[in-house]
Symmetry: C2
Subunit: 427 residues, 2 copies
């Protein structure tokens, strides 16, 4: 019997366990994961970037709170591989009309953005900004780069190191781990059992009292169970009548090595930030390049929406065709030198996409089960904040303090009264 | 080639086609359904009740608009079997504390509610209101009826007649029907095809251009395709990367015949409305009785949440055990005479439950496909309003007039900026 059971050891699960333990040090907490090691699900597949650059106030609060916390961790000596390289949106006339709105909205929330002329981009990143004459430009429907928007409070981090941080903290706090055995089902029990077969009946008060593992063991929770299972959640929640209202979509990353002088100049670009590394760069049509300077590589990706199934893949893989026909036409338009290189590695994971792009954190039917889902591609960047909100809900608190000291209303991530505004800066 | 293709011929599909045709009379419209007849899905399984009694302003607007429209139809000579019998919440002390909040909130929105003393309920409905001494009361956890709240602008209607109404109107307006062949898939096409295999690529503009039927035929839409497919939507939408963010839950109805003098007195209760029929009556714990006076029967049901799977059943059936152990303990506590009778018939359908209980009407990724889903158990009662909003979205309008003349902002049912308030009066 534990006070709290956290199912899922991605960043959101780990952060939730961590903040439960901080807020309620005497509680016993166990973290369960079907994998043999922590953070082995979609956390390990992430592009692991961060940006305090959103137009939706809730998004911005969650991101800022987490990033501030992560930077503090790193400043106190535990390296998370955080590099403030910035986030660069390089826009053509068409994408500018959309991104500009996002930039203005973000600025009105106090976000710091530099506008860069195309010449700066060609000089620092060796970017081809004048493309409109070419056949490729016409086919792809992407034009000359008219401007760059550089969000400065943004960058990349190392997801594995962040997992290590939470894991080591949790171990030292006495949190238990049960790894390598999947949960078979969540156990729903009547509050006051009558001992009649078929309980709980609809007139009985009932709660999610524990989890049954595939090996037959049942672990019970005295207080709350937290389902932080990402895209695996609905498999086990739907059978007991709960849904995350979030759905999986495959996302792919392709790795290109910076093994020429030109590519190294681009990767270790000077003049855009004090790290002397290219910013996380977003091109027209949404193709992006995430610098990975420690290994001298570029991580390249692009989100696809219409036509990309909502589906979970037990073993997702990156598709060569997707790189060649989906990404390369855009990438090689602006970075011909990159387009010549073929990826030396690739992998794929999932986004767990909620209906409005904000995380979903709620306790359905006062069931004792807290759902933590819908990270929508920013589960790492917002992970610490999500963990705090989930921990607060598990402890029946209405408000919680985020990593930057701001107070956050827990119900803002519930299913009702989210008061969601449209997010304009999306990837 | 049609201007508009509506997939699904439940009330929401029919109402959408109807309002598209009213708003744009020159457009060609076709309605497709996999069944051989219209309205044969969950529409035909509904308890078919209505109430202009909600605490959420959006819910109230949608319900009021539809009901006003239906009453006008009936007053103009097309009977929809509408009977304003009212909606009665009979509460014990525990449920009163929740329902009362809902009543006050509804009253503040102008909803008309009578409070009835328990004596009136025993007299008119032959209800046993004093139960707290009994063993059953203790087991079930339901006590003496302390009060009744009678919402007067509410009642029952005949779903089949409503289907007939829309169908006959649509036929006379020249709308085509394609029945009896399922849709195999939605077809996604590039706006400007290049003729390369694998299109559309993520950098291409793409839209849902048509539907492929199981028999191989492809129907194309010049303007918009509307997916009003209830709980079948995600099967075909998920593969093209769209989700309704609504999920199916089984709901069951049991029919008990009023074949004794006592049960007839209860069914044709005098003094509560001018129809001389018992109101739609909700008991503590949520068991309900829906009067069906034309056939001298009661329709009895109860919603279950935690423990009832989110799942679609191709051929859902009502469960005898659910009646016996789930409903009967509550029902026979307050209506022992009803408890003695065993159901002579039963059936089951699904609610299509959205994340906040409000319908979901949106056009994802400017794809030309309008999703109409998440009716959450009130697809008939709100059907006409939902049809207007969906038609407006299909016609690229921002606002639409509902059946009672009020203006409604289409984006209120989109995924973002719903500004949803918590609904307190739920079944």
């Amino acid at each position: 019997m534990y006070d709290y059971i956290v199912v899922g050891s991605g960043i959101t699960g780990l952060a939730t366990a961590y903040h439960i333990k901080l807020m309620s040090p005497d509680s016993s907490v166990i973290v369960i994961d079907k994998e043999d090691s922590v953070g082995a699900g979609d956390t390990s597949k992430s592009a692991a970037a961060f940006r305090a650059a959103f137009t939706n106030k809730v998004n911005l609060m969650l991101a800022k709170g987490s990033i501030t916390f992560y930077e503090r961790v790193q400043n106190e000596g535990f390296s998370l591989g955080m590099l403030r390289v910035g986030y660069l949106f390089a826009v053509d006339a068409t994408s500018d009309s959309i991104v500009r709105q996002g930039v203005r909205a973000a600025e009105s929330l106090g976000v710091d953005v530099d506008e860069l002329q195309p010449e700066i981009l060609s000089k620092t990143l060796l970017m081809r900004t004048e493309v409109s004459g070419s056949e490729e430009s016409k086919i792809v429907g992407a034009g000359d780069i008219v401007r760059g928007y550089l969000f400065k409070y943004a960058g990349v981090l190392d997801a594995e190191k962040l997992v290590d941080y939470y894991y080591s903290k949790l171990r030292s706090m006495g949190v238990e781990f049960q790894l390598g055995v999947p949960v078979k089902e969540f156990v729903v029990s009547p509050a006051k059992p009558l001992g009649i077969e078929g309980e709980p009946f609809p007139w009985e008060e009932a709660r999610v009292s524990g989890v049954r593992l595939e090996d037959g063991r049942v672990l019970e929770a005295k207080r709350k169970i937290i389902a932080a299972m990402g895209v695996w959640a609905n498999d086990l929640l739907n059978p007991i009548g709960i849904d995350t209202y979030s759905r999986p979509k495959k996302r792919q990353i392709f790795v290109v090595k910076a093994d020429t002088q030109e590519l190294r100049s681009m990767l270790y670009a000077e003049g855009l930030n004090s790290e002397k590394v290219m910013p996380f760069t977003v091109l027209p049509k949404g193709a992006y390049i995430r610098p990975n300077p420690t290994e001298s590589t570029f991580w390249i990706g692009m989100a696809d929406e219409l036509g990309r199934p909502f589906a979970r893949d037990e073993n997702p893989t990156a598709e060569e065709r997707y790189y060649t026909y989906g990404i390369l036409p855009v990438l090689s338009l602006y970075f011909p030198q990159l387009g010549l290189k073929y990826p030396e590695a690739s992998w794929a994971g999932h986004y767990d996409i909620s209906f409005d792009g904000l995380p979903v954190i709620y306790e359905p039917y006062s069931s004792g089960l807290v759902v933590v889902a819908g990270t929508s591609g920013s589960g790492i960047m917002k992970g610490d904040s999500i963990g705090r909100v989930a921990a607060a809900l598990a402890l029946d608190m209405d408000e919680v303090e985020l990593g930057d000291g701001t107070s956050f209303k827990v119900s803002l991530l519930g299913l009702e009264g989210r008061g969601a505004e449209r997010e304009l800066l999306i990837l």
